[in-house]
Amino acid sequence: MIELRDIRKSYGSVEVLKGITASVEKGEVVCIIGPSGSGKSTILRCINGLESYNSGEILVEGQRVDRNAPSIVSIRTQVSMVFQRFNLFPHRTVLENVIEGPVFVKKEPRKEAIERARMLLAQVGLAEKADAHPPQLSGGQQQRVAIARALAMQPKAILFDEPTSALDPELVGEVLGVMRKLADDGMTMVVVTHEMGFAKEVADRVLFIDGGVIVEQGAAKDVLNDPKHARTQDFLRRVLHPL
């Protein structure tokens, strides 16, 4: 459902993606791991059209992603994004954050949107926070609202850009729990993460990226338990045993 063909992307003279080719099937959970600055987040941002790419082609359900074409709106409503820093709208309540896209972009009737939003908030365990404002919530709660906001668009896939990296360690679990439930329900997910435990248990496939190229990819268990490439081995050793 998502296809990347030889994606290249430069910032000025620095090439951050040097020919990324990958695909994500419907219902699949793909984790992207790798060191900081390796281009992981840039891949997600290109899929969603938040960044442009210099060459290659990204297709979502057969539709070419071009951030300057009108079609980008329909792609964005099909592929939602969850950000590292939540990016909830602080001037609106939790409920308003969740219905914002359905009501104002997809022009759904307000009543229906509210009904579904309440259901989604219950699903992420925040039914009672519907009328709170985001700054009153903990990081973990804010990220769960952000997931509900993404789900409210009824997307075919969700992109997660380091969803737990900005959280206190004790709050990581509640967010990963919600994500695991989503994966179990068959949601197509692309997750940039440093949570190897999550990748191991939930991901179908793992891509290891370094220096703008896919160094190794395969079934999550294979890549994480038995990496073939020296660079992957080295990375995993450092992440799993920092001392």
Binding site: N48, G49, L50, V73, S74, R76, T77, S80, M81, F83, R85, N87, L88, F89, P90, H91, E100, G101, F104, V105, K106, P135, R149, A150, M153
Partner: protein, 217 residues
């Protein structure tokens, strides 16, 4: 003191006529400068170079010409071009345009202070540029912009006196006329000063209110 009170009861009705015009000019030019300023600011932050440069050019031209000259231009030159305005209309339009440049820079600062993540979040749920502005950026920018906006309001109240130069008989001009015909300079200009002060008090309270509010997280 008694003499002052006697003068006050005598002159106040005439001065209040001036107050009426001062308020009219201030409110009129405030509305116009806010709307124009918003247009310049939104153009200024556009990613399309031609639009943002046009706006920057307009702002610099307006800023670079003294308000009084702009008033003269609109009131005395426009009729030559076939556009005749009453003094009051010319004052409101002149001050409104002159102040739109300062409003625009203030609004732009507010818009640019909004976290980029907010814009990305809006885009990621499919919002276009204009909807992102209207639903996400501007409502948040308003909070940042209000304290300096209050200051601009006070400055506009006082600068409305420049309308006197194109014969609008607002408070300052009424004062000058009474003073020059009665020679009671002390009484008249004390009254004029007090009236300006009284009018600015609600604005000062407005500024204080929003400065407190903006200070809250």
């Amino acid at each position: 003191m008694q003499a002052f009170l006697r003068d006050a009861t005598e002159f106040l009705p005439i001065l209040l006529e001036g107050v009426r015009l001062t308020i009219l000019v201030t409110i009129g030019s405030l509305i116009l400068s806010t709307l124009l300023g918003l247009v310049w600011a939104i153009m200024r932050v556009s990613s399309i170079k031609l639009i943002s440069r046009t706006s920057a050019g307009i702002i610099n031209v307006i800023r670079g010409i003294p308000i009084i000259v702009q008033l003269f231009y609109i009131y005395f030159v426009m009729p030559d071009l076939g556009v005749s305005l009453t003094a009051l209309q010319a004052a409101i339009i002149g001050l409104g345009i002159a102040y739109s440049a300062y409003q625009a820079e203030n609004f732009r600062a507010g818009i640019e202070a909004i976290d980029k993540g907010q814009i990305e979040a809006a885009q990621s749920i499919g919002m276009g540029w204009w909807m992102t502005m209207r639903r996400v950026v501007l409502p948040q920018a308003v909070r940042l912009v209000l304290p300096p906006y209050g200051n601009t309001m006070i400055m506009m109240l006082k600068d409305s006196s420049q309308a006197s130069t194109i014969t609008v008989a607002e408070l300052a001009l009424q004062g000058k006329l009474i003073a020059s015909s009665t020679f009671k300079n002390t009484s008249v200009f004390t009254l004029v000063a007090l009236l300006y002060l009284v009018m600015s008090i609600p604005l000062i309270l407005f500024v204080r209110h929003f400065e407190k509010k903006a200070g809250r997280p």
